[in-house]
């Protein structure tokens, strides 16, 4: 295959690291366009996890025996790798289960005793209309617990945030928003929003699930307070996520979950808590998964996030062009690659997204259908659901063409367009 213009990525070499990509589905070569939901894992990541479990595995922390020390070293080394990957410091990285847990950790900490931010009636929490449910529902729940009011930035017809409102104001205590939308693909102006939050003394919290796998992210350059992402969308296993927080903020937050490992001293009358990040890692953490996540960070760094981003821009442009050329197909979200991730939602006139997804699967093409855990976005654009194609470093231009051809076959089968 010819390396695409604008992309310097050797995709065929990359694909050799992902054996699943060479399988067939329904008698056709698999075309995997669902990485925004979960990515595949390269051999290097699988090998890193396997080697750790085979040679060094034990529980971490507290142990004096050799394996426990080796496991602890590997786990803390993984923390350092992730921190460097983000441009943060070692103690600013908390391992969680996923973004959902990272966001809930903050939302519950903010209403637990000792929170540096006190929320109550008259205070506001601000989100946006394009959030994944994981960055919406926990804030609705926080408002229910505290009596605070939920506000949000609305969406424009073009799939961008309408920032010309007073959704962030002197009553705002928390501003939570996605870096890149999982359903629209929209990349939000993180720095501008973080600055607005800081100007009114509000905490800024970013869901980076769709950004960190696809582009270089420096939490310091973004100027945010807290930043969450998950491993399984960036070549790592399920079960491991990250909450990064500025040291002074993590140090001031009370714990979310209580239990082992997060304590300083425990007596029957009460307990004191460990410093961050241990304060937020109650119980035995995800050990081998965290080590695999560090291997995934190394893999992505070796390929180069800028190279990956450039490759995905080429793929996304080709996909948008292909969809725009088809009658009866509507893209839901920004229609150019400018300030845009690689997830592209679309709907076909006269064919329900579920039927689109099923019919594409018959051709070996994996896309996701539904509301993508962003039901308010579907409502905003007047569709019950969408089909979504999302690419990653291992996808090719030929696969984009296969999707566009596949959509035309779907239209023929269903007698649409």
């Amino acid at each position: 295959m010819v390396t695409p213009a604008g992309s310097s990525l050797d995709v065929e070499a990359v694909r050799k690291d992902f054996p699943v990509l060479s399988r067939e589905v329904n008698g056709r070569p698999l075309v995997y366009l669902d990485s925004a939901s979960s990515s595949h894992k390269p051999l290097q990541v699988l090998e890193a996890e396997r080697q750790f479990v085979e040679e060094h595995y034990s529980n971490v922390h507290r142990g004096v025996h050799t394996l426990s020390q080796e496991a602890t070293d590997a786990y803390e080394s993984a923390r350092s790798t992730v921190a460097a990957f983000l441009g943060g410091a070692h103690d600013e990285v908390v391992f969680t289960k996923n973004v959902t847990e990272s966001i809930n950790l903050i939302a519950y900490a903010l209403s637990n005793p000792g929170s540096p931010v006190q929320l109550g009636p008259g205070d506001e929490v601000c989100v946006t209309e394009l959030e994944h449910h994981s960055n919406l529902v926990p804030w609705q729940q926080l408002c229910e617990r505290t009596g605070a009011t939920l506000r949000w930035f609305s969406l424009t017809d073009e799939g961008r945030l309408d920032l010309g409102s007073d959704a962030v104001n002197e009553r705002t205590k928390v501003l939570a928003f996605g870096h890149v939308s999982n359903i629209l693909g929209t990349e939000n102006p993180v720095r501008e929003l973080a600055d607005r939050a800081r100007a009114v003394g509000a905490l800024s919290i970013v869901d980076g699930a769709q950004a960190v796998p696809h582009q270089a992210v420096s939490v310091r350059a973004l100027g945010v307070d807290l930043y969450a992402f998950t491993g399984h969308k960036m070549l790592a296993p399920t079960g491991v996520g990250v909450l990064w927080g500025r040291a002074e903020i993590l140090d001031a937050l009370p714990p979310f979950m209580g239990g082992g490992s997060m304590i300083e001293q425990v007596s029957m009358s009460g307990s004191t808590y460990a410093k961050a990040p241990e304060r937020f890692e109650a119980g035995t953490p995800v050990i081998s998964q965290a080590i695999a996540l560090a291997a995934a960070c190394d893999y992505l760094s070796d390929v180069g996030l800028d190279v990956i981003k450039a490759h995905e821009v080429v793929l996304t442009a080709r996909l948008l062009d292909g969809l725009h050329a088809l009658p009866g197909v509507r893209v839901i979200g920004p229609d150019t690659t400018e300030l845009r991730g690689s997830a592209v939602s679309f709907v076909l006139d006269g064919v329900h997204p579920h039927d689109v997804g099923q019919s594409l699967d018959e051709q070996g093409i994996a896309v996701r259908v539904g509301h993508h855990c962003a039901a308010p976005v579907c409502k905003r654009y007047g569709v019950p659901a969408t089909a979504r194609a999302s690419t990653y470093l291992y996808n090719t231009e030929a696969e984009i063409d296969a999707l566009v051809d596949g959509i035309q076959q779907v239209q023929r089968f269903w007698g649409a367009a």
Binding site: H352, H354, D355, S359, G370, H371, P384, A385
Partner: protein
């Protein structure tokens, strides 16, 4: 694809039977499939132990819409007990993972959904209208029982 999307299913999808909400009615229910956003609003009238009418409106994929259309053909005009038996037969077919030969005497056009049972992600689509009907009918029967 043909084993899933039988011509009977496509016919009911394109030309649904008994569609549209009608007055009067005993009970109205609204059921949703939270994983995909499909929804149906459904009304029933039960008279003297017979399903006198089922009317509905909804949005969703071909499977959910066609299955609801077929369901109305099967239950309207039948005694509640007989209609519930058809519900049970359809549910059993959907849970069979392709391992059941459906009885056309009982399920009529519903036999076209046998292939759907091989697609676990789509079974809940096929059951959406049936679940709404069962819920509404149980409420209607309970109301009627309370009156007598």
């Amino acid at each position: 694809m043909e084993s899933l999307y039988q011509e009977i299913i496509l016919d009911h999808y394109r030309n649904p039977h008994h569609r549209g909400l009608r007055e009067p009615y005993d009970v109205e229910v609204h059921h949703v499939n939270p994983t995909c956003g499909d929804e149906v609003t459904l009304r029933v009238v039960v008279e003297d132990g017979v399903v006198a009418d089922v009317s509905y409106d909804g949005q969703g994929c071909s499977i959910s819409q066609a299955a609801t259309s077929v369901m109305t053909d099967l239950v309207i005009g039948r005694p509640v007990a007989e209609a519930l038996a058809k519900h049970d037969a359809f549910l059993e077919l959907m849970q069979s993972r392709g391992g059941l030969d459906p009885d056309e005497e009982v399920l009529e056009d519903g036999i076209a959904f046998a292939g759907v049972s091989k697609y676990p992600a789509r079974v809940k689509c096929a059951l959406l209208g049936w679940m709404a009907w069962k819920d509404a009918t149980a409420q209607a029967v309970a109301i009627a029982g309370g009156v007598h």
